[in-house]
C-alpha cells in the first residue's frame, strides 16, 4: 500500500502524510511496534530480532516428518516465534510508527465467573494488566469486568477516536433458548474474543493511550454513565446523516480497500459455510462409525479364536471415534468463532472507510461553498474549512496506518488459524494411525505366540 499524496484535496503545500504526526501521539514517547496478539503472555518481541533470520529464510518448520508428538510440538514452538519476526519486518516497511522498542503494556482476559444477584445473572472476567507506562499509577492491575464494560469501552473509543479502526467485540445479543449464555463453551468462546479485542486495543499505538482504556484497566468501579454514552453515539450518527454531503471522488486507494473488503468478506462467508458443512458430515460419519464398531464387538461374542482380533478392531474404531470427536470440537470451538469474528472485524473496517468518506464529503462540500462565496464577494476561506481539511488528512493517514496494521494482523491471524486447522487434522490422523498400529502389534504378537506353541 503506497503512501502518496492524497488525491481529491486541494494541494496547499501540505506535508506528506508520512510526516504528519498524529495530534494524539506524544512527541517524546517513542511509538510502539505493532506486534500482533501473542497468547503466551509476556513474550518479548525484541528477542525476535535474533530469530528473525531463522524464521524468515523459509517459512517452514525444520522437521516435517518424524515421530508424531515430537515434531508437532516443535512445529508449535516454531509457530510462536514466527509471527513476531514477520510482523516486525513488515512493520518496519510500512508502519510509520514502527520501532523495535519493547512493549510495555500487557493485558489478559481470563477466569470467567458467574454472578447471581436478585436482579440478574451475569458473567464477569478477570482483566489483568502489567505495564511500565507512566500513565498508569501501578505496575499491575487485576479487575473484574463484564461484557457491558467492554461494550462501554468500545463505544468510548469510537467516540474519542473516530478516525481509527476500533477492533470489534463478539456479538452482544444472544438469542435465549437457542444458545445457553452460561454454557462453558459459549463463555469460553466469548472470553477468547474479548481477550483478542483488548489485546488489539493495547497493541494499538494510539488507542492504547486512550484514557478510557486506562480507566477500564485500572478503576475499581467503572463510572460508566451509560446513558450519556448511548446518547453520544446516537448523536454522532445523526450528525453524520444530517451532514448529507455527497462524496465526489473517492481516492483510488480507498476504493481498492472497499473492494478488497467486500470480496474478502464474501470469501470468509464461503469458508464458514464449508467448515460448517464439514462439521455436519463429520458428525454423521461419527454416528455411523460408532455403530460400525459396535457390530465388531457383538460379533466377537460368538467367536473364540477370532474374539480377540474382532474386539481389537472394535477398540481401534472406538479410538478413532474419540479422535474425530476432538477434531470436530476443535473446529467448532476454535476455528469457526475466529472466522466469524473476522467478519465483524471486516465490518468495522468498512465502517471506518465510510466515516472517512463522510468527512471527505463534508470537507469538499464546505470548500465548494466557501470558494463560491469567495468568488462572489471575496470572503476568505473560513478557518473551519481548513480544519475540515486537516481532519480529512488526519483521517486518511490514520486509516492507512490502521489498514496496514489490519492487513498484517489478518495475515498472521489467518496463518495461525489455517495452520492450526492443518495441525488438528494431522493430530487426528496420527491418533488413528497409532490406534491401528497397536492393533497390528497385538495381533502379530499373538501370531508369533501361536507359532511357538505349535512348534513346541
Amino acid at each position: 500500500m503506497s503512501v502518496g499524496a492524497p488525491r481529491g484535496l486541494a494541494s496547499s503545500g501540505q506535508k506528506p502524510i508520512t510526516e504528519i504526526l498524529h495530534p494524539l501521539s506524544a512527541a517524546d514517547e517513542p511509538p510502539l511496534s505493532p506486534v500482533p496478539d501473542v497468547t503466551v503472555g509476556g513474550h518479548n518481541p525484541s528477542s525476535g530480532a535474533a530469530d528473525k533470520d531463522a524464521g524468515l529464510t523459509n517459512g517452514t518448520p525444520v522437521e516435517t516428518s518424524s515421530p508424531a508428538s515430537a515434531s508437532s510440538l516443535f512445529n508449535r514452538l516454531q509457530l510462536d516465534d514466527e509471527p513476531d519476526a514477520d510482523a516486525e519486518a513488515e512493520a518496519d516497511a510500512h508502519d510509520p510508527y514502527a520501532s523495535t522498542e519493547t512493549r510495555d503494556l500487557f493485558v489478559t482476559v481470563d477466569d470467567p465467573k458467574k454472578h447471581v444477584s436478585t436482579m440478574e445473572t451475569y458473567i464477569t472476567y478477570r482483566v489483568s494488566t502489567k505495564t511500565t507506562r507512566i500513565e498508569f499509577d501501578l505496575p499491575e492491575y487485576s479487575v473484574r469486568r463484564r461484557y457491558q464494560d467492554f461494550d462501554w469501552l468500545r463505544i468510548k473509543l469510537e467516540d474519542s477516536q473516530p478516525t481509527h479502526l476500533i477492533p470489534p467485540l463478539p456479538e452482544k445479543f444472544v438469542m435465549k433458548g437457542v444458545v445457553d449464555r452460561f454454557s462453558e463453551e459459549f463463555v469460553e468462546t466469548r472470553m477468547k474474543a474479548l481477550d483478542k479485542f483488548l489485546k488489539r486495543v493495547a497493541d494499538h499505538p494510539v488507542l492504547s493511550f486512550n484514557p478510557h482504556l486506562n480507566a477500564f484497566l485500572s478503576a475499581k468501579d467503572l463510572n460508566k454513565r451509560q446513558g450519556l454514552a448511548l446518547l453520544t453515539k446516537v448523536g454522532e450518527s445523526v450528525k453524520q446523516v444530517a451532514g448529507g454531503y455527497k462524496l465526489r471522488a473517492r481516492p483510488a486507494e480507498f476504493c481498492a480497500m472497499g473492494e478488497y473488503l467486500d470480496t474478502f468478506c464474501q470469501k470468509l462467508g464461503t469458508i464458514d459455510r464449508i467448515a460448517q458443512r464439514i462439521l455436519k458430515e463429520q458428525t454423521e460419519y461419527l454416528t455411523e462409525l460408532r455403530e460400525y464398531g459396535a457390530v465388531y464387538s457383538s460379533w466377537a461374542g460368538s467367536e473364540d479364536e477370532l474374539r480377540r482380533p474382532l474386539e481389537g478392531v472394535a477398540g481401534s474404531v472406538s479410538s478413532c471415534c474419540g479422535a474425530l470427536e476432538d477434531l470436530s470440537e476443535n473446529m467448532s470451538q476454535d476455528f469457526l468463532p475466529v472466522l466469524r469474528e473476522y467478519v465483524l472485524y471486516t465490518d468495522s473496517m468498512k465502517n471506518v472507510l465510510r466515516k472517512r468518506d463522510q468527512s471527505q464529503a463534508e470537507y469538499e462540500g464546505r470548500l465548494e461553498a466557501a470558494v463560491l462565496r469567495r468568488q462572489e464577494d471575496r470572503t476568505p476561506v473560513p478557518v473551519e474549512v481548513e480544519k475540515c481539511q486537516d481532519k480529512v488528512e488526519c483521517f486518511n493517514a490514520d486509516l492507512k496506518a490502521d489498514w496496514e496494521r489490519w492487513q498484517s494482523n489478518k495475515r498472521q491471524d489467518f496463518k495461525q488459524l489455517l495452520t492450526g486447522m492443518a495441525d488438528k487434522n494431522i493430530h487426528y490422523y496420527e491418533k488413528c494411525q497409532a490406534a491401528w498400529e497397536s492393533l497390528i502389534a497385538l495381533l502379530q504378537d499373538k501370531q508369533t505366540e501361536d507359532k511357538t506353541n505349535e512348534t513346541n
Binding site: 470469501k267 458430515e281 462409525l289 460379533w299 460368538s302 495475515r411 496463518k415 494431522i426
Partner: protein, 447 residues
C-alpha cells in the same frame, strides 16, 4: 469307494474318477462319503489335491453377445480359465496354459452339482450374483468394469478353494469343468444331479421335528446363523460408513476453490493460499482410491457371509438324514408291533383292523397268514432301510464334522488375516491424510 476299488492315492486318481463316475451316474451320494476311510486321509497326507498338480487361474473377463435359450439377444460376460500342469512349472519349463471360457451360470451349475453330490461338505461359495451392500457411489451394475474385475477375482478364489479341498478337488466333473469347454453341461446333467438338487432345496426349507440331532450340529447351525447375521450387519454398517467418509473428503474440495478465489485478491498470502488449495483438491480426490481398495475387504466378508449359508446347509442335511432315520426306525417299530399283534392275537394298540375284527369277527387263517407274510417282508425291508439310513446318517455326521472343523480353521485364519489387512489399509489412509495436511500446513506457513 466301493470295496475292491483301488485305495492307494495319487495314480489312482483315474480309478477314483471311475468310481465317482459310476456313483454319480446312479445319483448315489453315499459313495464319496464312503471314501472317508483311509483313502481320503492318505490323499490329504500325500497332498494330491488338484491344486497341487495344476495351476489354475481366472485370467480375464470379456463381454459376449449371443442368443439365449428363448432366442433373445443378450449380453453377458465370460471368464477365461487357464490351467497349467504343476510338474512342468516345477521343472522350470514354462508351458503355455490350456484355457477355456466359462460364464457365471456355468460356475453356478458346477457349484449346485457339488452341493448335491457332497452334502456333508461346506462348499465354497461363489461371488455374489448381483452387487449388494453398495455404498452410493459404487455402481450396482453387473456390467460395471470394477464389478466384473472383482467378480473375476472371486471366481478364481472359488476355483482355488475347491481345487485345494481334500475331497472336492478329486471330483471328475470339476476336472472337466476346468479342461473341457464344450459338452461339459451335458455331462453334468447326465449325472442326474438335477433331481437331487430339487429335492434338496425342498428339504432345506421344510419344517420337521428331529428328536435326537447331534448336538454339535445343532450348535454349529446356531453358529452359522450368528455368522450370517454378524457379517451382513457389518457389511451394511461398513457401506454406510463409506458413504459418510466420502462426503467428508469431498466437501474439503470446496476449500480448494475458495482458497484459489481468495488468493486472487491477496498479495503476500496469495501463493501460499493457492498451493494449499491444490492440496485440498488432492485430499478430496484421494478418497476414491481408498474406498475402492476397501471393497476388497468387503468381498472377503461377503465370502464368509455366503459360507455361513453353506455351513447351515450341512447342518440342515444332518437334521434331514437324522429325521429320516428316526422316521424309518419308528416305522419299523410299529410294523414289528403289528406283527406281534397278528401273531399273538393280543391287541395292544388301537387299529381299525382290530375294531372290524371285533365287530365282524376274526378273519380267516389264510388271510392272516398272507398278512403276516407281507408284514415280514415289509419288516425285512424296513430293517434294511434303517441300516442304510443309520449308515448314511453316521457317514454324514463323521464327514460333516471333519469338514466343519476344517472350515472353522480356515475361517479363523482367513478372517484374522482380513482384519489385519483392514488395519493396514486404515494405516495407509492415515498416512496419506498426514501427508496431505502436512503439505497444506507448509503452504499456510508460507502465507
Amino acid at each position: 469307494m466301493r470295496p475292491g476299488s483301488a485305495t492307494t492315492a495319487g495314480e489312482e486318481k483315474r480309478m477314483a474318477e471311475d468310481g465317482k463316475e459310476e456313483s454319480a451316474a446312479t445319483g448315489d451320494s453315499d459313495q464319496p462319503a464312503a471314501g472317508l476311510d483311509s483313502t481320503v486321509t492318505t490323499m490329504v497326507e500325500e497332498g494330491s489335491t488338484l491344486l497341487r498338480r495344476m495351476e489354475i487361474s481366472v485370467a480375464e473377463a470379456e463381454k459376449r453377445s449371443g442368443k439365449n435359450s428363448v432366442n433373445m439377444q443378450e449380453t453377458f460376460t465370460v471368464y477365461l480359465i487357464e490351467t497349467r500342469p504343476m510338474d512342468a512349472i516345477a521343472e522350470g519349463r514354462n508351458p503355455a496354459p490350456d484355457s477355456l471360457w466359462r460364464r457365471y451360470s456355468e460356475f453356478e451349475l458346477l457349484r449346485n452339482y457339488l452341493l448335491v453330490t457332497y452334502p456333508f461338505i461346506v462348499v465354497p461359495p461363489l461371488p455374489e450374483k448381483r452387487a449388494e451392500f453398495v455404498w452410493h457411489k459404487l455402481s450396482a451394475d453387473n456390467m460395471d468394469p470394477d464389478f466384473v474385475e472383482r467378480r473375476r477375482v472371486g471366481l478364481e478364489n472359488f476355483l482355488l478353494r475347491v481345487a485345494s479341498h481334500p475331497i472336492l478337488s478329486n471330483d471328475k466333473i470339476l476336472y472337466h469343468f476346468l479342461t473341457e469347454e464344450h459338452g461339459w453341461k451335458e455331462v453334468v446333467y447326465d449325472t442326474g444331479f438335477q433331481a437331487k438338487a430339487d429335492s434338496r432345496l425342498r428339504a432345506l426349507s421344510a419344517t420337521f421335528r428331529v428328536r435326537n440331532p447331534d448336538k454339535r450340529f445343532v450348535d454349529m447351525k446356531h453358529y452359522s446363523d450368528e455368522l450370517q447375521s454378524h457379517t451382513s450387519q457389518l457389511l451394511r454398517a461398513r457401506a454406510r460408513v463409506a458413504d459418510r467418509l466420502y462426503g467428508v473428503y469431498k466437501v474439503h474440495g470446496n476449500y480448494g476453490r475458495v482458497f484459489s478465489e481468495w488468493s486472487a485478491i491477496e498479495k503476500e498470502m496469495g501463493d501460499g493460499l493457492q498451493s494449499a488449495g491444490h492440496h485440498m483438491d488432492a485430499y478430496a480426490a484421494s478418497i476414491d482410491d481408498i474406498l475402492e481398495e476397501e471393497e476388497h475387504y468387503a468381498d472377503q466378508l461377503k465370502e464368509y457371509l455366503f459360507y455361513a449359508e453353506a455351513l447351515r446347509a450341512v447342518c440342515r442335511k444332518h437334521e434331514l438324514t437324522q429325521f429320516e432315520l428316526e422316521m424309518a426306525t419308528q416305522d419299523l417299530v410299529s410294523k414289528k408291533q403289528q406283527r406281534e399283534e397278528l401273531a399273538t392275537g393280543i391287541v395292544r394298540t388301537f387299529s381299525f383292523k382290530g375294531m372290524t375284527n371285533k365287530l365282524f369277527g376274526q378273519e380267516a387263517p389264510e388271510q392272516r397268514e398272507a398278512r403276516l407274510k407281507l408284514l415280514e417282508e415289509l419288516i425285512a425291508e424296513g430293517e434294511e432301510s434303517v441300516k442304510e439310513k443309520t449308515a448314511e446318517c453316521e457317514e454324514h455326521v463323521e464327514g460333516g464334522w471333519v469338514d466343519m472343523q476344517r472350515f472353522k480353521e480356515q475361517k479363523d485364519k482367513d478372517l484374522r488375516e482380513a482384519l489385519i489387512n483392514y488395519a493396514i489399509m486404515q494405516i495407509s489412509m492415515c498416512k496419506k491424510g498426514i501427508q496431505v495436511w502436512s503439505n497444506a500446513k507448509e503452504c499456510f506457513l508460507k502465507m
